[in-house]
Amino acid sequence: MRRQLPLSLHLGAVLTLLLVAMALLSLLWTPYPAEQVRVIARLKPPSAAHWLGTDHFGRDVLSMIMVGARNSLSVGAAAVGLGLLGGVPLGLLAAGLGRWGDEVVARLGDLVFAFPAVLTAILLTAAVGAGAINVVVALALFNAAVLARVTRGAALAAWRRPFVGAALALGRGPLSVTLVHVLPNIAGIIVVQATVLFAVAIVNEAALSYLGLGIQPPSPSWGKMLGDAQTYLFTAPLQAVFPGVAIALCVMGLTMLGDGLRDWLDPRHRSSGVM
């Protein structure tokens, strides 16, 4: 039976695809080189030559936002990818191992949640210096903890279902049951959670780059652009608007995609709009 796709899934997918397309396009083409400094053209308002104006070094803001999309999405993808690699096997293991494994994963989760990603990144920066790697590590740890918890819960429920019992009765080993029966059944839940975590990663990366602890200049990042723009709020207020709109659209796209996917996979949620 075909179910109608939720509106939020459509909107979220379109927004996200547009941003990914913009990030990919920046690999081939930007209106100007994103790091090109032209001091004579500094802090210009939007015009035909510079659609979104220029920053305090005369760099083209649109080009910087395009490259910034690439940087943000790369950090987000790395943080979520590593989180999936660490968290999903851990969650499956916890569900499969029973009480002891469960307890260990739960306590590890508590430990990671004690440190908001921003705090972990600050701690790492204090130890080894600023850089995007710290951000990826801090966010990946957080994501792995969340994903381990979600995977564990979903896998425990899946283990109790009759077809898993049937597979076990037919003599399949726990590893094969996990890979063939449990994982495919909980993949949807994991994908939904990963999408939401991607959005959280984008916000955190921006915040850390705003503080100068994330992506390092001259490579453009949305957060750093907002940090620079704050100094010139009087002369060029619009510079504090465009990168923020980019962050908000990106986060909105990903959260709507996550919401839509969840509604589509689990129609019970559709009417309530639970987050």
């Binding site: 004690a114 440190f115 908001p116 705090l119 130890a127 080894v128 959005a199 207020p237 986060v251």
Partner: protein
């Protein structure tokens, strides 16, 4: 119930202990000599030696950890290199900014979110519901530091209603101090309110379907009274749970927003300590913030368990 409380307390102690090990260990990753990193290459040899001895760098690592953790338990976080004052003293001083900021933003977000969530649930599927959901979607999509910059642009630079940054201190009276905290608290509160409004709406909708609420309606209790007296109190448990989870986001948000508004709070202290390479301050503040998150989460967990009449499950 007692078993649940004991379990929760045991796991709290384990988490606290592990958190101190993590903070201590990460700062051992500093490449080379931490004393040299903090003082710079031009430091005098005797100053370096004095700092090494103060930081216990001449001791084995286990002794150093035990000394530090012992100090932490007594409330002694070491002496800041930059400020030449005990870190604990600095923390208490900065808390007079961060704590009111956090409380004010919690208050604003709750005052905004509960009525919005309740209203959306009452108008389910209609214009008002969609408006609240739209606000919530927008609110969760905007990072608090960007909201902060936009608020400065509108309320400080354009309308001149609030200061764009800085803090006059509590010495000059409550009025000016609170005035300086309004915009930062609002910036922190908007994303929180967006999440809370959604949770409130969902929780109220869930309770509206329950038997006791339908019985109340069948007995002739009015719509508003049912919402306020029956649906809302029951919806408060999930709302409180989410509020507890938000504490960690609030801590992270405060670190960033304090820097947008140059507020002399804990977050600003931590941020400046990185620039000043004051590892003793970083270590002390990070471990305190982590302990704060752990303890508040445990308290919320326990409070929700006490308030929830259903049988206690195994904590996850």
């Amino acid at each position: 119930m007692l078993a649940f409380l004991l379990r929760r307390l045991a796991s709290l102690i384990v988490t606290v202990w592990l958190a101190t090990i993590v903070v201590f260990t990460v700062l051992q990753l500093v490449p080379g000599d931490p004393a040299l990193l903090m003082l710079g290459v031009n430091a005098q040899p005797d100053t370096l030696a004095a700092l090494r001895s103060q930081m216990g760098l001449d001791q084995p690592i286990l002794t150093r950890y035990l000394d530090w953790a012992g100090g932490l338990a007594r409330g002694d976080l070491g002496v800041s290199l930059t400020y030449a004052r005990p870190v604990a003293e600095l923390v208490v001083e900065r808390l007079t900014v961060t704590l009111p900021l956090a409380l004010l933003s919690l208050a604003i977000s709750t005052v905004l979110a509960l009525p919005l969530g309740l209203y959306a649930a009452a108008r389910r599927g209609r214009g008002g519901d969609w408006a609240v959901l739209g606000f919530a979607q927008l609110g969760v999509s905007m990072p608090s530091f960007w909201i902060a910059i936009l608020l400065i642009l509108l309320f400080s630079l354009t309308l001149h209603w609030f200061p764009a940054g800085g803090f006059p201190g509590w010495g000059g009276g409550i009025g000016p101090a609170l005035h300086a905290l309004v915009l930062p608290a609002l910036a922190l509160a908007v994303p929180e309110a967006a999440i809370l409004a959604r949770v409130t709406r969902t929780a109220v909708l869930d309770t509206l379907g329950e038997d006791h609420v339908r019985t109340a309606r069948a007995k002739g209790v009015g719509r508003t009274a049912v919402l306020l007296r029956h649906a809302l109190p029951n919806a408060l448990i999930p709302v409180a749970t989410v509020l507890g989870l938000q504490i960690s986001f609030l801590v992270a948000g405060a670190v960033v927003v304090e820097n947008v508004f140059t507020l002399p709070g804990l977050g600003r202290l931590l941020y400046q300590a990185i620039g000043q390479r004051d590892l003793i301050v970083v270590q002390g503040v990070v471990v305190l913030l982590a302990l704060f998150v752990v303890v508040v989460s445990a308290l919320v967990d326990i409070a929700c368990a006490l308030a929830d009449p259903r049988p206690k499950g195994v904590s996850s």
